[in-house]
Amino acid sequence: MSAAQIRFASLLRREVNRFMKIKRQTLGAPLLETFLYISVFGAALGSRIDQLHGIDYVVFIIPGLIMMAWAVNAFSNNASSILQQKLQRAIDDQLSSPASPIQLLLAFSLGGFLRGMLIAMLTFGAASVLVGVPVQHPLVLLPALVLVGFFFAQAGVLVGIRAEQFDDLSFAQTFVLQPLIFLGGVFYSASLLPQPYETITHFNPVYYMISLVRYGFLGYSETNVALSLLFLVVAVTTLFLVNLRLFTTGYRLRA
């Protein structure tokens, strides 16, 4: 391995090591949360809802839950990791190393990305055993999930850099991320909403993400798949470039 590869591997290893050391909080809790959603919304309420667009309700919500698990964990992991290291100034060890801005950004991003992926895979495995989840379009599903995970990983990095206290993270997660995800149609189909709520939902970017992932799993989509994928690529690239700029200039990281 070259020095640059060792450097990147060490930066990433540190991020993975962090969440693996507190598994109960970083893996156990989100898995339990997803299981409770499936139980309450799928098994308990779902028996009264019957089918949506010809799909059992409990199966209909699972793609959104898998995406939500990946998104929320990628976001919160990266935001917390960066803020915690900033507050302790432990991040100075990485910042004063020869690591380049892009190495630092990728390592911080992939930490949360991998945590989200692990939880999403475990959720998918459990849901497949419990209720059976089809995968209709894997060639759409895979890039869609990877892009969504990377988008929220980037969002977490951005919030972590900007944050000055844990209250800032809590605000972003509770008042921005959760409403966008819940109102993006994890638990329902936007086409069932009365106006003007259906139209308003179309301004929520997460709606297109859930729609894409649902199409990948179930073959049902309310949006244009190609356009949604394109939108996601543009959004991820933009956010990545913004974060790279912040790491290059040292915004709120270097004095």
């Binding site: 962090r18 302790q88 432990a90 100075d92 020869p98 200039t249 004095a255």
Partner: protein
């Protein structure tokens, strides 16, 4: 210059020779840590340049930072990590291969009497042990230039003397050292040359005796008191009547 418009350093011009033990003295807020942060990439200089063994600290930060080991004044250890992990990750950030890291960690744990604590999380260490670990971490990648930012602040006498002994030894082995301290005796004992920094400017530099001569006083402490405009605190005045 800080985003607030405050000018932290003004026209600082300083040259430290390879192998030298150099001291930087000045009151709090004089610009010592800012200068150090500019050299290590923790602050972005708005103008001027810093070269470390010929490498520009901004343009060629990779080579410049590889040459530097920083022991900051804050105990900035990651409390998720164990002692061994702290050193291992640091070595990794500087591109050291696994085998080399393992050998170097054992060597440093032994040198700083931390072997028994290698598996403990950093948050469980005493203040003195954290200070040792900070110094071990700075030395992990075998830097040619070691920056010690108030390394003995708040440590007991034994550890202070132990640290002095260690840094003297690595300086003798060829490592260039920049030391900032508020303990003038420390600077006097260790440093070949010393610079006084005040209000973001280097106001005087030379050996301890040269500085004393320049200010027309008996020692480094009195020279420093002259610099900060508090010569009335000189022991020659304060303690003048207590001697027998």
């Amino acid at each position: 210059m800080y985003p607030t418009g405050t000018l932290a350093l003004r026209g600082v011009s300083l040259q430290i020779q390879p192998g030298e033990f150099f001291g930087l003295l000045g009151p709090n807020g004089a610009g010592k840590s800012t200068l150090i942060h500019c050299a290590t990439g923790l602050a972005r200089p708005s103008s001027g340049s810093i070269r470390i063994f010929g490498h520009d600290a901004v343009q060629h930060y990779g080579q410049a930072r590889t040459a530097v080991g920083l022991a900051p004044q804050d105990l900035n250890l990651d409390f998720f990590l164990t002692v061994r992990e702290t050193l291992d990750y640091h070595g990794g950030y500087f591109g050291m291969p696994r085998r080399d890291r393992a050998d170097r960690i054992d060597e440093l744990l032994d040198a700083f009497s931390l072997t028994a604590k290698s598996g403990d999380r950093t948050q469980t260490l005493s203040g003195g042990m954290k200070r040792r670990l900070i110094l071990a971490r700075a030395l992990m990648h075998r830097p040619r230039f070691l920056i010690l930012d108030e390394p003995t602040a708040g440590v007991d006498v034994e550890l202070r003397l132990e640290l002095w002994q260690y840094v003297k030894q690595i300086n003798a082995e060829g490592t260039t050292i920049l030391l900032t301290t508020h303990y003038l005796e420390e600077a006097e004992q260790l440093c070949d040359r010393i610079a006084f920094i005040g209000d973001g400017q280097i106001v005087a530099q030379g050996s301890s005796s040269e500085l004393a001569a320049r200010y027309g006083v008996a020692g480094l402490e009195d020279a420093y008191l002259q610099l900060v405009g508090r010569s009335e605190l000189s022991r020659a005045h304060v303690g003048g009547g207590t001697g027998s």
